[in-house]
């Protein structure tokens, strides 16, 4: 088990390093002459050169990367390229907290319902309950979240007036108010995931129902409830956990459109603004933070999966 965790940690570290390389390459190399890109076409070459020297952009690329990456390890993600050029972390930290609140809320909303829906569908495969869940789950899983969000705003905020149109609460709002403001965006994020999680769970349940060990349990004469709880679900839900973790990526990806739509100061909105203003430092830092969050979540999920899965837990003994 320790071996497994160590191996998994090592892989996560490698992923992080490569992630930083990719982000650096995308945000700092692709624009070509960064100074020119930031300052615009009208500025003289001398001014661009001056800007580049000031920001250390005239150094070799590898040095720039190492400088940037070592800063990132120390928690220093550099300064914004847009005046007043404050450290990006000052902007990113509150944004990250906001995004985490939203993502967590969505996650808590969707996971139990998604799994429940999948289990019900799987246990009734081919019957009415299954049909209903698969038929409604599919469109929910594939319609872009900003469209779901639009409809939600239109219905619940504009027409019915039950919930606020934006997600940005006034300063000093209590947790309950925050929950109220976050409900619509969280729902928009959650609905996309619902269909997906339900689908994976359903497939897992059907597979476990057909397994030999389920036959063994049934032929022991156990009550159906026990067979399903102890034998079917225990084995069906295990792989589901691993899959759900990978879906966190989709959830985080949804933050962009949803935060923009609800005008919510999270990482997504910050990144969009940075991209619009060509603040490549802020952009790179935002994307790196999101990637880091994703790697962390999958790492935790994998270790959790291993803890629940005796095959991996006892690997060391064998």
């Amino acid at each position: 088990m320790a071996r497994y965790v160590a191996k998994r940690l090592g892989l996560a570290l490698i992923t992080l390093v490569l992630l930083s390389v990719i982000v650096f390459a995308a945000a700092q190399l692709l624009p070509g002459d960064l100074g020119r890109s930031v300052l615009g076409r009208e500025v003289s070459d001398e001014a661009v050169a001056e800007y580049n020297r000031e920001h250390g952009l005239d150094r070799p690329i590898v040095v720039q990367y190492l400088d940037w990456a070592s800063g990132a390890v120390r928690g220093d993600l550099g300064n914004s390229l847009v005046p007043p050029e404050e450290p990006v972390w000052i902007v990113l930290r509150p944004a990250l907290v906001n995004s985490l609140k939203l993502a967590l809320y969505a996650f808590v909303l969707v996971v139990p319902f998604g799994i429940l829906g999948g289990v019900i569908a799987g246990l009734n495969a081919g019957r009415l309950g299954d049909r209903a869940i698969t038929i409604f789950g599919l469109p929910l899983a594939v319609i872009p979240d900003f469209i779901t969000g639009l409809v939600l705003i239109l219905v619940f905020a504009i027409w019915l007036g039950w919930l606020p149109v934006t997600a940005q609460w006034d300063e000093g709002a209590g947790p309950l108010t925050q929950v109220k403001y976050l409900t619509l965006p969280a729902l928009a994020l959650a609905i996309v995931l619902f269909g997906y999680i339900a689908r994976i769970t359903r497939a897992g349940v059907i597979e476990a129902l057909d397994a030999d060990y389920t036959r063994t349990a049934y032929l022991k004469g156990l009550p159906e409830g026990t067979v399903i709880r102890r034998h079917v679900l225990r084995n069906a839900l295990l792989p589901t956990i691993a899959v759900i973790a990978t879906q966190v990526g989709y959830l985080l990806g949804g933050l962009l459109a949803i935060e923009l739509m609800f005008n919510y100061r999270g990482i997504g909105l910050t990144v969009i603004e940075a991209a619009t203003l060509k603040d490549y430092n802020m952009l790179a830092a935002g994307v790196l933070v999101i990637g880091f969050a994703y790697v962390l979540v999958t790492l935790v999920a994998d270790i959790l999966f291993a803890l629940l899965n005796p095959r991996i837990r006892y690997e060391a003994i064998e």
């Binding site: 030999d212 032929l219 156990l222 102890r230 034998h231 225990r234």
Partner: protein, 671 residues
């Protein structure tokens, strides 16, 4: 006569496949008396497992009982619902099936799974653990406490099957159904499990329905047997009567297919059953076997024969049961097999090949200094339990796995260790026929494309010439021309294996590795494939390295036999010498483990414990931990050398040959 434990009356089961009901069981009737052990035998697709699933009421969703009745311990099993059905499962009937690894819940400790089978009977939890431990002890699990704490994947296949048998017997069922319980287990493990079942059955007087494709196993385990063909019971009776005096042409054919009684390829060819099993649920107005029966006449095709009594308790469903034994032989002409000339240099020479795998930080010794030679036109049989290194040896020869040390030579010339470095001529000379023809043939390529490509690469020809050679090749392996345009999925297992053989022979190979080439096939198909291999050997003087766990098959086809244990060559010699003895104690145990159709014969030599891990092989003679003839300290301390104990017969044992001869002769007398 007391009431039967199981009574099937005219049981009809149908599966709905592509919108049509297909009849899988056609009016099967049978009775099992209290304490009786009844064998149901037949080839794949005959409906054996369907019968079992119908009895335990676990037919797949598309299956239904369309007629007839199932009565277990006097109750109508088909009428049970809800609570009664649960009680029926909990107390009356138990089932153990193939592939024990899949039958146990992978995420629950073994102990909890056994306890479950006990608590369902109403035993309080406190007592249940004790009962579960007792149940595991009853199936001769030496350390039940530690086994209970383990997860299924931490147990060997044999142990898993014991745990399942413990669960099945914990309720003391009226009827125990065993569906191919030892298929896929090693012969020695199989023998242990079978011994265990017989012993427990004798103790508990449980009635057993034993389902198997293996007539030898049925003969060892059962007192009565029913032969199932295309969902119809075609013959039934006491085991000795049915096997010694079969009265249905199908049973006769089946028995003739099996290589047994020391028959070898130079004694004659094996019989086969011509034709194919009728497709699932086909309408068969007459006798179900008529289309494949050499005795069949017009009447057989239109009118189904009833089960008629041959003698008391022995019945056959054949119009001509008195003539069944005179069934004309399918393969009559014997071959003139040229003798192997061992004075010439060998074709392949394997010298001190050692292979060490690195696995999770451990060295696994798959092969240790194995040497063997194969002469032109010779078959070297390779036997041993799983993990003995059989397949690794074949793979090092083919260059798929490079040896850690040692080398192989072809025609006196050293072979590069990896196939990538071998010349096209060397690749062509060494080919392989795999165990599983489904995996061996590309599903997307037609037979034609498969053969043409092999001809191009191995024979170096293309165009019209290749076309003609392909037809000749197909003809040689008896593939009809129209199969050439088909894809593997359209072919039966036997036909697929013919294609695989044709592919291996495309470039006139000098040696073909046959890695369990018939173990995925039914016996009647196996016989045809073995005949084909022998035929090709006669025509082309090709050599085979033949791997099989079926000792009857190995004996039939091999000129010499090598016995491997834990990667070490234990014995090597002419087939008859190795089989007739005196043999290495390990060979002796292997041979005695095999249940034969003829029954009796050898005293079972029990092997203690499980095969040690190749990562930590025992000191001295690697076999000493399980050897029934262990001498003492010397076996633990020093590894005996492989010496030629008599002309062409090598053995690795501290016991002198004459002593072995004396010991083994004594035991077979007392048997």
């Amino acid at each position: 006569m007391s009431a039967p434990v199981l009574e099937l009356t005219e049981l009809d089961v149908r599966y709905r496949v592509r919108g049509r009901d297909r009849r899988v069981l056609r009016g099967v009737s049978l009775r099992i008396e209290p304490g009786e052990s009844y064998g149901l035998v037949g080839e794949s697709g005959c409906g054996k497992s369907t019968a079992a699933l119908a009895i335990v009421r676990y037919l797949p969703r598309n299956g239904k009982v369309a007629g007839g009745s199932v009565s277990v311990a006097g109750r109508d099993a088909l009428a049970l619902r809800g609570r009664d059905l649960r009680e029926y499962h909990a107390r009356t009937v138990s089932m153990v099936y193939q592939n024990p690894g899949a039958a146990l819940n992978p995420s629950m400790r073994v102990g909890a799974q056994v306890v479950e089978a006990v608590t369902v009977l109403g035993v309080p939890t406190s007592e249940a653990t004790e009962r579960a431990r007792a149940a595991l002890a009853r199936v001769q699990i030496a350390d039940p406490d530690s086994v209970m704490q383990r997860y299924p994947h931490q147990l060997s296949g044999g142990m898993q099957q014991r745990a399942l048998i413990a669960m099945a017997l914990a309720k003391d069922p009226a009827l125990l159904i065993l569906d191919e319980p030892t298929t896929g287990l090693d012969a020695t493990v199989e023998a242990e499990v079978l011994d265990l079942v017989s012993q427990l059955q004798a103790e508990l007087h449980t009635s057993v329905l034993f389902i198997s494709h293996n007539l030898g196993v049925i003969s060892k385990m059962c007192s009565r047997v029913g032969v199932l063909y295309a969902g119809r019971l075609v013959e039934e009776g006491p085991v000795e009567m049915v096997l010694q005096d079969p009265r249905h042409p199908y049973t006769v054919g089946l028995l003739r297919c099996i290589p047994r009684g020391g028959v070898r390829k130079d004694h004659g060819r094996l019989d086969t059953i011509p034709g194919f099993l009728p497709s699932l649920g086909a309408e068969l107005p007459g006798c179900v076997f008529a289309t494949r029966c050499a005795l069949a006449d017009e009447r057989c095709h239109v009118e189904e024969p009833p089960l008629v009594a041959v003698t008391s308790g022995h019945e056959s469903r054949c119009w001509y049961q008195e003539r069944a034994r005179d069934l004309p032989r399918e393969e009559a002409d014997d071959l003139a097999l040229p003798p192997v000339d061992r004075s010439s240099p060998p074709l392949v020479d394997i010298t001190e090949v050692t292979k060490v795998f690195r696995q999770r930080g451990h060295d696994v010794h798959a092969l240790t200094e194995v040497s063997a030679a194969i002469w032109p036109g010779e078959t070297l049989g390779l036997v041993g339990e799983s993990g003995s290194g059989k397949t690794t040896l074949a793979r090092t020869l083919l260059g798929i796995v490079p040896p850690t040390s040692g080398a192989a030579a072809l025609d006196g010339k050293a072979l590069p260790p990896r196939y990538q470095k071998r010349s096209q001529a060397e690749l062509r000379a060494l080919q392989i026929v795999f165990q599983n023809p489904d995996s061996a043939l590309n599903r997307r390529h037609s037979v034609r494309r498969i053969l043409l490509r092999s001809l191009k690469k191995l024979a170096g020809i293309g165009g019209r010439e290749a076309e003609q050679r392909m037809l000749a090749l197909a003809d040689r392996v008896r593939l009809a021309e129209r199969t050439l345009t088909q894809k593997p999925v359209q072919l039966s297992g036997g036909l697929k294996q013919r294609v695989a053989i044709a592919r291996a022979f495309a470039g006139d190979p000098k040696l073909v590795v046959c890695d369990e080439p018939t173990s995925a096939l039914d016996v009647s198909v196996q016989a045809a494939i073995l005949n084909l291999l022998v035929e090709l050997q006669t025509e082309q003087r090709v050599s085979y390295l033949f791997i099989s766990h079926d000792l009857g098959v190995v004996r039939y086809i091999s000129d010499r036999i090598a016995v491997l244990y834990l990667g070490r060559l234990q014995e090597l010699g002419p087939a008859d010498v190795v089989f007739d003895g005196p043999h290495h104690p390990y060979t002796e145990a292997l041979l005695s483990a095999v249940p034969t159709v003829d029954g009796g014969g050898r005293e079972r030599i029990k092997l203690e414990g499980e095969i040690p891990s190749a990562a930590a092989p025992p000191s001295g003679c690697v076999f000493h931990t399980r050897c029934p003839r262990k001498l003492g300290a010397i076996c633990e301390q020093s590894e005996p050398p492989l010496i030629e104990v008599e002309e062409g017969h090598l053995m690795r044992c501290h016991i002198p040959l004459e002593e072995l001869r004396r010991l083994q002769a004594k035991d077979s007398v007392t048997a």
